[in-house]
């Protein structure tokens, strides 16, 4: 009882606090309602006013299905590539010293700060047939800008920091002694990595991959510029929503937008679970 009941002074102050609270509550709940709940419900309710048959027809039209495929498959592949190379970058930044390390470390955050249309513009130039990197691949018949590969490169760029920034802190807290112990007990380098380093890294790595995937799925700005946005080729779902709106096809935009929203919310839920798992691993 004594442990749970607060001292007199603080209970009086929490009473004083209560008179102060409404302000904060009004601003917080009011703003969240107007800015977050209202728009989200507007989209979901509008989508539900479509008849189920019509909803299904729009949501599973061939062009929409192909756009989902381009979006999700490309985003998944790029998230996995970033999972691999992001872990490598984090590892190198945590464990080794080399020239310009601090600069490179800071530059990893660049995709967070660089506007997406700038990313799209520069990727479209660098990876075009005449660009610095595109011209190196053109002789082999590999085209990147204005193809699905361009979509992939844009997604790689914008989701790059997620894995690095989730894995990095876990790696730097990991004690080297554990690895050294495994090493001195005769484990090979490969065994040490799979058995000792990777397991505690897994929650952070998966969180980073999921965050990168979620970001890549929603990406618009860089992809719309670097891709040709041709249906059934390199048209992603967010661009499809945009095109539907441009054609004043509100039903089409709303239905496909609602599908995307639902998937984003699902991913957000998944990421929350992963983060909770990571915190449990901490303790």
């Amino acid at each position: 009882m004594t442990a749970t009941s607060p001292p007199l002074a603080s209970s009086r102050h929490s009473q004083k606090l209560i008179t102060r609270i409404p302000w904060l509550w009004v601003i917080t709940i009011g703003y969240l309602s107007i800015m977050l709940f209202l728009p989200t419900s507007a989209l979901l309710i509008k989508a539900m006013t479509e008849s189920p048959g019509n909803f299904w027809k729009i949501a599973t039209s061939p062009i929409a299905l192909s756009a989902y495929e381009v979006t999700f498959v490309t985003a998944l592949i790029t998230a996995l590539i970033n999972g691999l190379f992001g872990t490598l970058v984090a590892w190198v930044l945590v464990r080794y010293t080399f020239p310009f390390k601090r600069l490179i470390d800071a530059a990893v955050d660049l995709p967070f700060a660089l506007p997406t249309s700038v990313a799209g513009l520069t990727l479209a130039t660098v990876y075009s047939d005449k660009g610095w990197l595109g011209s190196l691949l053109a002789p082999f018949g590999i085209k990147i800008a204005f193809t699905r590969l361009g979509v992939g490169v844009a997604m790689l760029l914008i989701s790059l920091p997620f894995v690095v920034r989730t894995v990095q802190p876990v790696l730097s807290e990991m004690e080297k002694e554990v690895e050294e112990a495994a090493w001195s007990l005769g484990a090979s380098r490969v065994q040490t990595f799979w058995r000792v380093i990777l397991p505690p890294l897994m929650p952070a790595l998966l969180t980073g991959v999921a965050l990168g995937f979620s970001r890549a799925v929603g990406e618009y700005g860089s992809v719309v510029i670097v891709a040709s946005n041709t249906p059934f080729k390199d048209l992603i779902a967010p661009v499809l929503v945009f095109q539907r709106l441009e054609q004043y096809d509100y039903a089409g935009a709303t239905v496909i937008g609602a599908v995307l929203l639902a998937i984003s919310l699902l991913l957000l839920f998944l990421i929350n679970l992963l983060q909770a798992w990571g915190r449990r691993y901490d303790r």
């Binding site: 703003y31 969240l32 800015m35 728009p39 080399f98 479209a124 660098v126 050294e180 799925v217 700005g221």
Partner: protein, 277 residues
């Protein structure tokens, strides 16, 4: 010891592969912005920057940031304080939905605003009656920007508030400080670096937002065109030079943001060390 475990060439190879990957995806494309912008020398670049459309885009970008950043800062502070200091029903729910703007596609965010305030939207008829234009106009662009940047301040301030604890605030109140006094003299100084960090991220995203603003703006040149929209429009019109003169400005903004971010991160780290000592 380390030399025993990993031979030098493995280390070198790993570092080189990491840098090569970063170069292909990030460093070379970023460097390209600067090379392209200066490809014809500084004269044409400055000439492009003097065009009325360009200046209008700069002005609009600043206006939008100037309005949406303070609004989200006030909201972020209120939400962060409640989440860090109060136990209430639905707290976990509020924390997780705070991230919704980060996970929703910017296009979908723009679509939501069109469905609310557009001509066929929920509030469309009412807005038309009172003669306020939201979609294809500044208010819609501010709403879109505020939506996508909503979580930043709260996200950065919550952990700082949780770390400092309520002790000092309670002490101040016991000594007779009012709510405002406590906030200005105790809470704000404690969270100032985290707050600045959040404001910095909000501003970078607000000035750089493309997708959501693109949906609601209608992209009317010289009227509802921000710098990121100008980049796309100029590129689509094959005015690559003009596109890159806007891009370099935005890239510089990104670099300044990163430098300030580094400085703020160091500030908070130094503070951590102080507290441990």
């Amino acid at each position: 010891m380390a030399a025993n475990r990993e031979s030098a060439w493995v280390v070198t190879a790993l570092i080189l592969v990491a840098i090569a990957y970063l170069s292909l995806v990030l460093f070379i494309p970023t460097a390209n912005v600067f090379v392209q912008a200066f490809s014809k020398g500084i004269g044409p670049l400055l000439e492009n920057m003097k065009s009325p459309d360009f200046l209008n885009a700069v002005r609009l970008t600043f206006i939008i940031a100037l309005i949406s950043v303070p609004i989200n800062t006030v909201f972020g502070l209120c939400a962060a304080w409640l989440i860090a200091r109060k136990q209430f029903r639905g707290r976990a729910f509020v924390i997780s939905i705070l991230d919704v703007p980060f996970s929703v596609s910017p296009v979908v965010a723009g679509l939501m605003i069109v469905l609310l305030y557009g001509r066929n939207g929920w509030f469309g008829p009412f807005l038309e009656q009172i003669g306020v234009k939201v979609i294809f106009a500044l208010p819609g662009m501010i709403l879109a920007t505020a939506f996508v940047t909503l979580p930043f301040v709260a996200r950065e301030v919550i952990p700082v508030l949780e770390e400092t604890g309520a002790d000092q605030e309670e002490a101040a109140r016991t000594l007779g400080a009012s709510g405002w006094q406590t906030f200005w003299r105790v809470t704000l100084p404690n969270i100032r670096w985290g707050l600045l960090y959040g404001v910095l991220l909000t501003n970078a995203r607000a000035m750089g937002e493309f997708g959501a603003v693109s949906v609601v703006s209608g992209n009317i040149i010289g009227k509802t065109q921000t710098l990121p929209l100008y980049v796309e429009e100029a590129y689509k019109q094959y005015q690559t030079e003009a596109a890159f003169s806007a891009a370099i400005l935005l890239a510089l903004l990104a670099l300044v943001t990163l430098v300030l971010k580094e400085i703020l991160e160091r500030k908070t780290r130094i503070k951590d060390v102080d507290e441990e000592a």
